[in-house]
Amino acid sequence: MKSSKVIHSTTFTTKYVSYLVPALTNIGSLLASYDVDEETKKMVRYEVDMALALSAKGFAWSRALKHKLRLNYNDDDRVGDGHGEPVTKKPKTEHEEEERMMCLRKLIPGGKEMMADDEMLLSELGSYVSCLELQVNILRSMLQNN
């Protein structure tokens, strides 16, 4: 299955924003109190991640992310940051690239399913990094202009 593998920033941004902003508005209206609690953070983080997954369809990592988000959300269990990545994965000994590849696999959603395929991992990384960048830019601009 080879969907269009080009990430158009405009398309991505449009989709992302069009999903996220209404979702955030919903959250804002749902929460009665103005306190920022864990629940709010979780919900916001969920929407942030889901927006990413939905805006970049056609990649293994976006599918995996969507899947993971839905699972975690149903379980109502907080998985760090939705990506489920162990945020501090620093122990990269001088061992060869295998370790680093493992590290990358843990970082990217769905990476563990790419155990056998290094090429695929690298390809997915390319799109994932691009989308992450876009996401960060969008979020930043949303915040800055308020």
Binding site: K5, V6, H8, L122, S123, L125, G126, E133, N137, M142
Partner: protein, 357 residues
């Protein structure tokens, strides 16, 4: 992992034999004609090595148990680990299959020598040849299948050691979709070739990643680059987490000012490239009536983005990156004419309007 015919065929070559033939391979691989493949035969004599190309276990009916033992060098590189298992199963009918294997090998060598230019034709030819082989000699299949798993397990090791087998010295573009069962009794060359092709693909993708991740240029070596990539991804993920927390904090008290959202600011760059590096000059979109303050904010945002923004769309167009096929396709710059924005962002604007006042 799929293996090519030659992978299997190379599975049981004695290391010594291969080592001795390495220079020979190097010499003649660069040349074209198949005829040259036969040269090493004379070199090595007919001592069961007459089918040099295939590193036959012992050549035809002379196979015996002792030969089998010779096949497996005790200190075989992992690339030959398969030979350990498969060679034990060498039987007489390998001789029969040798001839067919030779054709495969020749095809493979032709492929190597002529380079990727004619890869397609070789692909087809090889497929045909293999198809023929398969139909001709199904007996071997059973054994061969048993080896495929072994091959898979060894493949990771092989890939690391394939550099030692650089005797190929040719840029072989392995066809992606020719998955065939390899026959035993062939030179390990093709196995190494496959690994080598795989490694080339991987390094190609690494190069693309290098373009995406800032700071990779200064680092040399795969491990260093992977480190950089890991750091970058972690940092991006942390940023996302942090920003989303900030959004959560603001959420209750803020209406997201969506009028000057990035849609307009990143109009025509493809995320293949460093995301913000190709920001074009701020377009003056009358349809959105950006007030000067908003424009200022946007500009600040642009400047703070991850990469230094470029200001020329032409820069985007000329910066073509070879992207790994799976992730991104190359040369896809889509310049959105302003006219289209009237539709899209306007629609978005309406959406926001529902939520905000």
């Amino acid at each position: 992992m799929d293996v090519t015919v030659l992978d299997r065929q190379q599975a049981t070559y004695p290391l010594e034999l291969f080592a001795s033939s390495v220079p020979l391979f190097q010499s003649y691989l660069g040349s074209g004609p198949i005829v040259e493949l036969k040269r090493p035969e004379a070199y090595l004599g007919g001592d069961g090595f007459h089918e040099f190309v295939y590193f036959p276990v012992g050549g035809g009916p002379e196979f015996g148990d002792s030969e089998k033992l010779n096949l497996v060098p005790p200190d075989a590189a992992p690339g030959y680990c398969i030979s350990r298992t498969s060679s034990c199963q060498m039987t007489a009918f390998h001789a029969a299959s040798m001839k067919e294997e030779r054709e495969d090998m020749i095809l493979e060598k032709m492929e190597s020598t002529t380079g990727s230019g004619s890869r397609e034709s070789f692909t087809k030819r090889k497929a045909e040849v293999v198809a023929d082989h398969k139909s001709k000699d199904k007996r071997i299949k059973g054994e061969v299948e048993g080896e495929s798993e072994v091959k898979t397990k060894c493949s990771t090791q092989v890939s690391r050691n394939s550099s030692k087998e650089n005797s190929k010295a040719c840029e072989v573009q392995k066809p992606d979709y020719i998955h065939v069962r390899a026959r035993r009794g062939q030179a390990t060359d093709s196995h190494s070739l496959a690994e080598r092709a795989r490694r080339e693909k991987i390094s190609k993708k690494m190069k693309c990643l290098q373009d995406l991740v800032p700071g990779c240029n200064k680092v040399t070596g795969k491990a260093g680059m992977l480190d950089e990539i890991i750091n970058y991804v972690q940092s991006l993920q942390r940023q996302v987490g942090f920003l989303s927390m900030k959004i959560a904090a603001l959420n209750s008290s803020v209406e997201f000012n969506v009028e000057n959202l990035p849609i307009k600011e990143f109009p025509a760059y493809v995320a293949n490239f460093p995301a913000a590096a190709k920001l074009p000059a701020m377009p003056n979109l009358t349809c959105f009536q950006l007030n000067p303050m908003q424009k200022e904010a946007v500009n600040c945002m642009l400047n703070e983005t991850i990469h230094p923004p470029l200001t020329a769309t032409e820069g985007i167009a000329s910066a073509s990156v070879s992207i790994p096929e799976q992730a991104l396709s190359s040369s896809t710059i889509t310049l959105q004419p302003f006219s289209t924005w009237n539709m899209d962002p306007q629609g978005l604007y309406n959406v926001y309007d529902m939520g905000f006042h």
